[in-house]
Symmetry: D2
Subunit: 338 residues, 4 copies
Amino acid sequence: MIIVFKPKTKDNDLNRVIEKVENLGLKTHISKGEETTIVGLIGDTTKVDARMIEVDEAVEKVMHVSEPYKLANRAFHPEDSIIDVAGVKVGGQHLAVIAGPCSVESKEQVIEIAKAAKAAGANMLRGGAFKPRTSPYAFQGMGSEGLDILVAAKEETGLPIVSELMDARYIDEFNEKVDLIQIGARNMQNFDLLKEVGKRCTKPILLKRGLSATFQEWIMSAEYIMASGNPNVILCERGVRTFESYTRNTLDLQAIPVIKELTHLPIIIDPSHAGGKWWLVEPMAKASLAAGCDGLMIEVHNNPEKALCDGPQSLKPEKFETLMKQLTIIADAVDKKL
Amino acid sequence: MIIVFKPKTKDNDLNRVIEKVENLGLKTHISKGEETTIVGLIGDTTKVDARMIEVDEAVEKVMHVSEPYKLANRAFHPEDSIIDVAGVKVGGQHLAVIAGPCSVESKEQVIEIAKAAKAAGANMLRGGAFKPRTSPYAFQGMGSEGLDILVAAKEETGLPIVSELMDARYIDEFNEKVDLIQIGARNMQNFDLLKEVGKRCTKPILLKRGLSATFQEWIMSAEYIMASGNPNVILCERGVRTFESYTRNTLDLQAIPVIKELTHLPIIIDPSHAGGKWWLVEPMAKASLAAGCDGLMIEVHNNPEKALCDGPQSLKPEKFETLMKQLTIIADAVDKKL
Amino acid sequence: MIIVFKPKTKDNDLNRVIEKVENLGLKTHISKGEETTIVGLIGDTTKVDARMIEVDEAVEKVMHVSEPYKLANRAFHPEDSIIDVAGVKVGGQHLAVIAGPCSVESKEQVIEIAKAAKAAGANMLRGGAFKPRTSPYAFQGMGSEGLDILVAAKEETGLPIVSELMDARYIDEFNEKVDLIQIGARNMQNFDLLKEVGKRCTKPILLKRGLSATFQEWIMSAEYIMASGNPNVILCERGVRTFESYTRNTLDLQAIPVIKELTHLPIIIDPSHAGGKWWLVEPMAKASLAAGCDGLMIEVHNNPEKALCDGPQSLKPEKFETLMKQLTIIADAVDKKL
Amino acid sequence: MIIVFKPKTKDNDLNRVIEKVENLGLKTHISKGEETTIVGLIGDTTKVDARMIEVDEAVEKVMHVSEPYKLANRAFHPEDSIIDVAGVKVGGQHLAVIAGPCSVESKEQVIEIAKAAKAAGANMLRGGAFKPRTSPYAFQGMGSEGLDILVAAKEETGLPIVSELMDARYIDEFNEKVDLIQIGARNMQNFDLLKEVGKRCTKPILLKRGLSATFQEWIMSAEYIMASGNPNVILCERGVRTFESYTRNTLDLQAIPVIKELTHLPIIIDPSHAGGKWWLVEPMAKASLAAGCDGLMIEVHNNPEKALCDGPQSLKPEKFETLMKQLTIIADAVDKKL
């Protein structure tokens, strides 16, 4: 962290700020230029709130040199983390292929989709039981009953289950029934939920990027979970909000190399939510894999025309099967196992 | 709602979609052009999920004609709602002036600020007890103890209390101690919290706009609270996220006339969080009032240099006092009472 | 400018970078921490391209301390610039009120509007002769004939003329006929046009902010004009592009205090283009003035229903007159002359 | 185009609008619901300005059904356009691989890079002679001399030349020396330049997407060029501006399938400008190809540390060679020829 002072700062102003910083347990290194004085902070600045220094009237600005996260930071953990989801590895060369309907609608539906997805090569099953919907009048999901249907599909197919948790009240139930617990984009900065999930969830967490979250904010939310006790976090890019409205969101595939540079956590891509149109899923899934992602999350529905949620972005099982074949070739090209 | 079909749609495709729509309880009106067929839906479309129709392969797109919200809609409630916060009216000609520190730090601090704020003309006291922080290592607020300090300040000054609720577990405590319960920007689409707040909160709700929430999404979140049983919602614009990073966020003052056009709810402005710099507060507070807002929420701190949170955007009491004097003149010009 | 080196940088790497910097005519100040070495640059860094230093593999990042503009910089020119537009002063206490149709359509139209605008208190006349239109099939403006009509309206009313220049080929004609030459948002980074305008325009320039231009980029475009020889630049905020599409653009009124902090140039606001709806103009014009702008640019049309361009955002003369009366009261409150 | 009227519109209001529309040469189809009347427009609505209808006080809103472009529209030209650039085909199965330095710096530099690029598999040479720079104090390019150096490199290697045109004054020179004329992101809506380029350029045009241009605006700019007489347009995605600042821009790879759905024009990707960091180029180039792009534009520099412009995003020739090998495998997987 570097403190840049205003031009012609006087010594007593300088000393006041230095004292404040040293009270936080940091050492300082002063560099006086002709016009500007700069003070570098030496020590662990992770826990320093820059704005508490910036507020001093002698300070022009405070600049970060090192990143404000530690547990998620690649610098302190150079190897890729490989997360185990009920026996399915994610990270390194291991790809997660998570398929299934946006929302659980019935036992028959889920089991039919789960079998087709597995046959095509998926290694996890997704399905929403508790649904975050923009409108209070839209279908809100089947809740606990939906989770039970997913469990039945797991018994039938052996596929681990991925489902979204929206409220800490359901953590015990999710621990029991779900294998990879998703925190949705709209809850990425629901800090109380992050803390509870870190403290109490015994399963790995799939943390989606918020609609307008920077890379750093997203990593800081992973840090919340990790600092609260759960080190098993997988990140999921699902599109960010921009001025473009033809697509539901703008899928930011630069996230893949960036997250791999900054952290050791696996990153998977959800091309279904990003585009909101089924015909965008295939090219974006291929692109994601070519860019080196650790997995894909793809909405598959046996009857999108009757889906209660997000039908337009779902692939039919036969389209998913074709996609999986194409992905296999790309996986070879980028040294991943499918 | 209007359904636009793809060019040269056949009758059996058309009929399939019409049947689907009529099963939802709506009537249809068909309009066949030379190229394109259009079907208008007649009836209450609030509860229709456009994407469930859009998914049909014969459909080009589905367009909304009417807004998807009812309880918040100005069309069904032409008069301004006036919300009573422990005796202080907000809406119509009545302005809320909510002042106080970003976070509660000590009893002395809060009482000193509360007295100064009241003397300068504020009619409510704000203070964060539970703080949403981007970093898990930053000060997270004093919690329940912080609320008790606010209650003590209320006893001293008579100012109603505004504080942020981040988790449904604390609703009973907030009902008891807080007069206007804030839902923060990062929880604007924490739908489970919105439902609980609608069901169980006995006090009015201050709903902040999410960092990248459209007007419609924001209003839909108010609709969640209202549909769950709490009609007393005040909206608060606090800046949205854009490409510009010199300011913390971009304050969208067009929200004031837009919200008044679309809804009957009061809207207040928080210029402190939007800009992130104290010297932006004064001009933006004046602008907000000139544009017709129903209130202002302004961070005031007796010692910003030592503030544990957001010091750089806080006004000192004497600056707040000067601002209040200037606001009085503007209030006259726009026919509001201060 | 500060250069932050990667951890454990070796001396020969450090020296290579320092040599590079000193070859640019700058002095350096080295600060070695335990982990990180930081080098501050002393001298005029305006002309240093940070990316030319950042490219060195020993460098972690390069941070700007001072702003990269000089001529527009408030630091080197503390007083407000007051620009004279054919006798009408803009800046300081002097407000520009520029009214008129989006596009010049006929002599009768423009003269009628000009008279009404003047009667209501406008002190300049706007009108588009060359129109930037998104579609090649839309009305492209009357061109030179349109400028002649504006000149006729000036003869009739005495109001100086504001019109947009889109191509350097017309500079001589604009110098002759127009009093304040507008560079539109879409040409804000048409650098060849900026240079020509700086070199050859004998009249002041009104530089609109680009749809996604940061404050700094906008000021740099002003710097282009000033560095090319024309110091008379007025800035105009007209809304930026965000995720919100209910309004045409998001009007960024924080631009007013920010531009005044960073530069000495006047800033005016165009609420008509920002919102795209006539009923947003009145509240936003009042807000702009309350925030301390140096002028307003407002579309006024005697018959918006028949306007060839942007009718929905135009005020009728009687609405403009009412607005001017309200603005007079706000002007008093912020110590501006109307 | 569909006109939605306000609730309870009277017949004379309805008739006034219908008359206006029919005067534009369109037929109408009226659909009266219980509350709302809707009028569909039949005929060529490409040249209708929706806002001229929206302005009528009886009109609630005007919605587009068909796209406002014709010449670029896939609907009227179902096959992929294949553009010939001095013998190199772009589109269909044919990939453009455009490599070279950001800016031309010397003859030796360009020829060395051109040879290396060709040896690695590039089929066109890029190089900036006229440079759009944010700062007036930054290196502005070598101008005509730079173009001559590119011509010399073409003579040496046979690679066609791609370079950016910033001003219509240089069109004759570009026609003579350059094979694919680039219009940069900042000039994407410099409509006078687009018209001139359409009228007078005898070579194909590479049209970059503006930093905040929607797909439709971008296509409309292609339509400008095509409607002015030049049908040979290649589109180039180079990242859009968002809230994320860790990367220079956010690369929108959904543009690839979207542009292919909406238009028949080839689309190439520039991963160098999008990310601004050389290590993002490889994964994004692979992703682009996997998503089905028609070409790549990659900055290659023999000595990035000394590059006068954008060194940090340039690949060294050996890295480019490695990338080309990996691309060959991906090209096979997506049925493209490299």
